[in-house]
Symmetry: C2
C-alpha cells in the first residue's frame, strides 16, 4: 500500500489524463482514498501544487522510459519508432492520454506554474527527438528542428483523435506516416 501522498498523485494523474485539469477534483480523490477533501489539501495546499507535482513525476517517468538522452548508436528510424510506441502502448494498455497533450490544449485555464511545467516537458521531448533525428551527431539544421516538432505535434494530435474515436488505428496510421517520411 503506497503512502497517502503517492495515492493522491496516482489518482490525480489518472483523472487529469482522462479528462483534464477540471476533471480532477479534490473531493473525488479524497473519496477514492477514503479521507476527506480537506485532508488532500494538507498534502498539496492548492490544486496547482498537485498538478505541478503530477507533471514533474510524469515527466521524470517519461524520460526514464525513453532513455535520456536519446540512446546513441541506434538508427534514427528505430529511435523515432520507439518514441511512437510510447504513445501507442499507453493507448493500448490504459487508454490514457499523454498528460502533456491534455494539459496543452487546456493551457489557457491553467495556473502559470503548471503551464511552465508542461512547456518544459514539451521542450525536453523535442530535444530528445532532435537528438534521435541527428543520429547522435552534433549537427542541427532547420529540417531536423521542424521535423522534430512535426513528429511531436502529430503524435499528440493522433492520441487525442484515437481517444475520441476509440480507435488505435489513428495512432498506427500517423506512426506509419512518420516513419515513411524519414
Amino acid at each position: 500500500m503506497p503512502d497517502t501522498r503517492t495515492q493522491i498523485l496516482d489518482i490525480a494523474e489518472r483523472f487529469i489524463r482522462t479528462g483534464g485539469y477540471n476533471n480532477c477534483s479534490f473531493r473525488e480523490i479524497a473519496t477514492e482514498i477514503g479521507i476527506k477533501s480537506a485532508s488532500v489539501h494538507h498534502h498539496f495546499p492548492a490544486k496547482q501544487d498537485l498538478a505541478v507535482a503530477v507533471a514533474r513525476r510524469y515527466a521524470k517517468n517519461f524520460r526514464a522510459g525513453l532513455g535520456e538522452p536519446a540512446p546513441a548508436g541506434k538508427q534514427p528510424e528505430q529511435q523515432i519508432a520507439l518514441f511512437c510506441d510510447v504513445f501507442r502502448s499507453a493507448f493500448a494498455s490504459s487508454g490514457l492520454a499523454c498528460l502533456c497533450g491534455v494539459l496543452s490544449s487546456e493551457s489557457a485555464l491553467l495556473p502559470e506554474r503548471v503551464q511552465q511545467e508542461i512547456a518544459s516537458f514539451v521542450d525536453a521531448n523535442v530535444v530528445w527527438l532532435e537528438q534521435a533525428l541527428a543520429g547522435g551527431s552534433k549537427k542541427r539544421n532547420k529540417a531536423i528542428h521542424q521535423n522534430a516538432r512535426l513528429i511531436y505535434a502529430a503524435l499528440q494530435g493522433a492520441m487525442a483523435v484515437a481517444r475520441l474515436k476509440q480507435d488505435s488505428r489513428w495512432l498506427d496510421d500517423v506512426s506509419l506516416a512518420i516513419s515513411h517520411q524519414q
Copy 2:
C-alpha cells in the same frame, strides 16, 4: 445586436475554444449577456445541447471557409497550405484553438452526443485533406490515407503547443515540415 441565442453560442464557443468544456459555464455566459443562468437553459436545456449546437455551427463555418469539397483544379501543395493557414490565422487573429482539438483531448468527459459531433467533424476534415492530396482525382491509397491523418493530427498538436507557449512559430514550423514532405 444579435439575438440572445446567437449571443449564447458566440460566448460559449469562445469559452470552449479558450479552455474546454468545463471552462464554459452557464452562469458566466448569463452574466456576460446580462440575464440569469436559468434563462440560458431556456435556449439550451442542458449543457450538452449547447455544446452540440456550438460544434455544428463551428463545423459549418469551418467547411464554408475551406470550400467544400476541396476546390478542384488546384495543386495539392496549395490546398494543404490553405488548410494550414486556417489554423495559423486563427491563432494569429484570436489566439483561439480549434474547437475540435480542444474537445478531442477532453473526449472522456464529454456526453456521447458531443463526442459524435466532434468525431464527424474530424472525419470531414480528413476527407477534405484526402481530396486535396489526391488532386481532384478519384485515386485513394494508403499513403494518402495516412498522410491526411498526419497533417490533421500535426496541426491539432501544433495548435495546442503554440497556445501553451504562446509562440506561433510552432504552427509555422509544423506547416513548413508538412509542405516539405509533399
